[in-house]
């Protein structure tokens, strides 16, 4: 099963579904053939696509719209906020190549503030799948919900069979007394390997897949903070407004003080290049993640 197969199945079963794209066809290459005129390619016009999606939703449709994540969430931001957000319409946003997945494209194509922007819209849900398996497990619930939603599309092949998806619930892979890694999206695999490396050094390490960022699993975050010495947030997103911010907000609200190590992009866009080079340059390989965590822990102990 692929994203496109699931989308096709869903659309053929439910005639409310309309598939749209602003000429980003990577995920919907064959939809024109399978779906006929319920596939609408508006050309390179993100704002118009979103406005039209709102109009279609007003008529009872459920538009599932596609564009590169930066252009979808930023070029069309005010249209999303105003036409979809204010009206609370069930438009489903699929943002392609978010975060590090834009590899060699450069800052214009880097969606590393998309979580921050989308979760700032009242009523908008935000989901970040760890890999293709996770993506396919969450989409039926995301698309069936009556709310607008943004999915940070990640269909890279994973190595993990994920638990069933429930909106607002994190996936606890493991619990740890010393460290808990909280991660979303594409970096899940590297965090999982970093967990193994840290365990080899004698740490007890937990791992949480923060697949649902809004609504977020507050109980899971609080649980980790209470039972783990240190938390680590791992994300290919700016430090501002992403997972680290979410964790901080939750803990502050619950009046829980915790040691949290943020691994994120700090006040800059990442250096473009092929994905493996990017990860290495930015310090997000499994070895680098483990090293950065250990270094931070040593600083605290001093």
């Amino acid at each position: 099963m692929s994203y496109e197969q699931l989308l096709t199945e869903t659309a053929l079963k439910d005639e409310r579904v309309v598939v749209m794209t602003a000429e980003n066809r990577a995920l919907v290459r064959n939809m024109g053939r399978t779906l006929g005129n319920r596939f609408i390619d508006t050309g390179i016009t993100e704002q118009t696509m979103i406005g039209m999606a709102a109009g279609l939703a007003l008529r009872g449709r459920v538009p599932i719209v596609h564009a590169l994540a930066p252009f979808l969430t930023m070029r069309a931001f005010e249209f999303i906020r105003t036409d979809i957000g204010i009206a609370n319409l069930p438009v489903k946003l699929s943002g392609y190549i978010p975060g590090f997945l834009s590899d060699g494209n450069g800052p214009t194509h880097q969606a590393i503030e998309d979580v921050s922007l989308m979760r700032g819209i009242p009523g908008m849900e935000v989901y970040c799948p760890a890999d293709e398996d996770d993506l396919l497990k969450m989409l039926p619930a995301v698309w069936a919900s009556p709310h607008p939603a943004y999915v940070r599309i990640n269909h890279t092949k994973g190595e993990w069979e994920h638990q069933p998806f429930e909106p607002g619930k994190a996936e606890t892979i493991a619990e740890g007394r010393d460290i808990t890694l909280l991660v979303h999206g594409f970096l899940f695999k590297n965090a999982q390997r970093a967990k193994y490396l840290l365990e080899q050094q004698g740490f007890s390490v937990g791992l949480i897949n923060m697949r649902s960022l809004k609504p977020v699993d507050e109980a899971a975050i609080i649980q980790c903070a209470l039972h783990s010495e240190s938390l680590v947030t791992v994300e290919d997103h700016l430090l501002t407004g992403g997972l680290y911010s979410i964790v901080a907000e939750v803990l502050l609200r619950a009046r829980i003080s915790a040691h949290v190590i943020p691994l994120a992009l700090k006040e800059r866009w990442f250096k473009p290049g092929l994905l493996t080079h990017v990860l290495d340059h930015e310090g997000f390989t499994p070895v680098q993640i483990a090293e950065r965590v250990v270094r931070e822990l040593q600083t605290v102990k001093k």
Binding site: A26, G43, T48, G104, P107, H109, G273, D280
Partner: protein, 285 residues
């Protein structure tokens, strides 16, 4: 244009195409769209823009903006062939050791502004052009846009505004290669009659063969066309120009070829049989 100049530019364009082909290996590039605008960029940098390669920030320079940023391989190649950057820098393509990647940025000398998100630079160029008018300066401003890029409403907004401010020092050069990423423009969001659309927005329009240096010289030599109007040059081009095996396929937009395939493409460029693109290394973004 004299024969000698024409021959020099033709040779330069061929060299630029070689660079583009080499950049399509090791991770790939937007090869089809890069090949269509080679003559446009080569002409501007070689003949028209008032640029000094040893003083790129000279305030008297003309401004060039590549709004369809994914064509940057054509610009990289031109910057090498005009001596503005070292050829060796292109070997760092897609490595984090340099800033040579799929879209232009100002870490590369000769790149006036970054791009990659479509429909931005007509407005940025209008900002530069309006300042030149305010200061009564004679520098000229050129922007290359794609034809698919014309889908973006911001292009048309900027033309309305630029004409409202009488920016006849601004020229939009449209690489009319008939394709957007996945298909023919006329099959998705039809643009024709394109010249009429620009005229209706208040611009002065010319249309020419974008692979013909003589026609480019003529059109650029006559600027500005009408007082107070933004100039539009619609350059009819062929996507994948120079490589029949690329020209023939609508889906040759972003390609990542093997070294072996690029060797064949280089041979094809120099007139031998079409390259056998055996593996489906195509990635469309």
């Amino acid at each position: 244009m004299n024969r000698q100049t024409q021959q020099r530019l033709t040779e330069r364009a061929l060299k630029v195409r070689e660079h583009i082909i080499r950049l399509s290996a090791g991770g790939g590039c937007f090869i089809g769209a890069s090949l269509s605008c080679v003559e446009l960029i080569v002409y501007l940098y070689s003949e028209w823009l008032n640029l000094q390669s040893n003083d790129l920030n000279n305030p008297g320079r003309d401004y060039f903006f590549l709004s369809k940023g994914h064509d940057v391989p054509a610009l990289y190649g031109t910057l090498v062939e005009t001596g503005i950057i070292e050829a060796a820098r292109l070997e760092h393509h897609l490595f984090t050791t340099d800033s040579v990647y799929w879209h232009p940025n100002r870490a590369i000398p000769g790149v006036e502004f970054h791009s990659g998100s479509l429909g931005h630079l007509p407005a940025v160029a209008a900002g530069v052009a309006v300042d030149l008018k305010l200061r009564r300066l004679q520098n000229r401003v050129v922007v290359i846009t794609g034809d698919g890029e014309l889908n973006e409403g911001s292009v048309w907004e900027s033309l309305l505004v630029a004409n409202a401010y009488g920016l006849d020092n601004l020229t939009l050069l449209v690489d009319r290669n008939q394709f957007q990423a996945n298909m023919r423009t006329e099959e998705l969001i039809p643009l024709e009659p394109l010249a009429d659309k620009f005229e209706a927005f208040g611009c002065a329009v010319r249309r020419l063969d974008g692979h013909d240096f003589t026609q480019l010289e003529e059109a650029f030599g006559e600027l500005p066309y009408e007082k107070g109007k933004v100039n539009i040059i619609i350059a009819d081009t062929v996507r994948g120009k120079g490589l029949p095996s690329i020209e023939a396929r609508a889906d040759r937009w972003f390609c990542s070829f093997t070294e072996d395939e690029t060797v064949q493409l280089l041979e094809e460029l120099h007139g031998s049989v079409p390259a056998g693109i055996y593996s489906e290394t195509l990635i469309v973004r």
